[in-house]
């Protein structure tokens, strides 16, 4: 071989610029990966402690006279969270059963039903609530924050949270009968 004493030429992108570019690209990839992971995750899973949220309530559908309810305030009670909408036909299949179940469990004072109205308009929601004679606490999912936290895939979906705030069961789609609802609540009361 011959002499290799050639001065190192200055070529390519400076190191600092390369680091910035690669860091930026890596950041973008991480964001895309997290988004894909979240999209494929499905709903929140049983065993997970449900974070606190605030549900504003429709007038006439308050909880203990309060116009909004915080999940944290319901620790010590079994909470049944039902996502629904007035435009949702499958929701109508279970509406009467949910109200019947609420009528049965309300006197015990150990169970709370929360209806979360997803992407709905209030006049139509009120007509729906009146049509099915629903009396438990109900309110809109403002800015879809609660449904985004639960990562709901549609309506109806129902989440059963135990007295410690741990999610125990997720019902995707409507209940077939009131027995299906009882079958999820009763074990949580023992």
């Amino acid at each position: 071989m011959t002499d290799t004493s050639i001065p190192a030429p200055r070529r390519g992108v400076p190191l600092w610029a390369q680091i910035i570019i690669w860091a930026f690209l890596a950041g973008l990839l991480v964001i895309v990966a997290l988004g894909l992971r979240r999209a494929q995750q499905g709903t929140v899973q049983p065993g997970q402690v449900i974070e606190d949220f605030t549900l504003p309530l429709y007038s006439g559908y308050e909880f203990d006279g309060r116009s909004e309810v915080h999940l944290e305030d319901l620790r010590g009670k079994v909470v049944v969270i039902n996502f629904w909408a007035s435009w949702c036909k499958p929701c109508e299949q279970e509406a009467a059963d949910l109200q019947q179940a609420w009528s049965e469990y309300e006197p015990t004072g150990q169970v709370v039903f929360l209806g979360i109205d997803y992407v709905d308009t209030e006049p139509e929601a009120r007509l729906y609530l009146k049509k099915f004679g629903i009396t438990y606490a109900n309110g809109p999912d403002l800015a879809t924050r609660i449904s985004q936290y639960f990562r709901t895939k549609g309506v109806p979906e129902t989440y059963f949270v135990d007295k410690d705030g741990v999610l125990k069961y997720v019902q995707i789609g409507p209940f077939k009968s009131i027995e299906d609802i009882r079958a999820q609540i009763d074990p949580l009361l023992e």
Partner: protein
């Protein structure tokens, strides 16, 4: 004479009722047309059917939203007020155009600039050897900014011939 008086009072009553009805209707505002509703609706997307603008979406949820827009327009709400209501109730993702925030435009801008810079540098590096190759017949050293590595390589090749 009597029948003329009855006719007069009947006419008077009709005018009074018509006046009252018109007055109450104008207090509520005229019913907005479909075009007025759709002008706002086409700027919104329902989260249930994400890829379809509200003005052409056939679902029940979207029909309810359009009815709500019509009601709000009849109540005298402005376009901005209606959009604000929808953002508050259903989130900013219902807007066809993202909210006017700095990051919304800054991040894509930076990404495009970085991409363009990388492309430019890559193109520069890719072009350099072929420019040198085109000047193969030229004397070495004739181009002051020639790549010293290529010059050395060509020198070695010449020696081997």
């Amino acid at each position: 004479m009597g029948s003329a008086r009855i006719a007069f009072y009947f006419l008077l009553l009709t005018l009074v009722i018509t006046g009252l009805w018109t007055g109450s209707a104008s207090a509520q505002g005229p019913t907005p047309t479909d075009d007025e509703v759709n002008r706002i609706a086409k700027q919104l997307y329902c989260p249930v059917c994400e890829s379809t603008p509200l003005d052409v979406c056939p679902t029940e949820a979207c029909r309810q939203w359009r009815d709500l827009i019509r009601t709000m327009l009849a109540e005298g709400k402005s376009e901005a007020e209606i959009e604000q209501y929808f953002v508050e109730h259903y989130g900013a993702r219902v807007l066809a155009e993202p909210p006017n925030r700095l990051a919304t435009y800054l991040v894509p801008g930076i990404a495009i600039l970085l991409g363009a810079f990388m492309l430019f540098r890559g193109f520069q590096m890719w072009m350099k050897p072929s420019i040198t190759g085109a000047g193969e017949e030229a004397e070495l050293g004739a181009e002051p900014d020639r790549d010293p590595y290529i010059a050395k390589l060509e020198e070695e090749l010449k020696k081997q011939k």
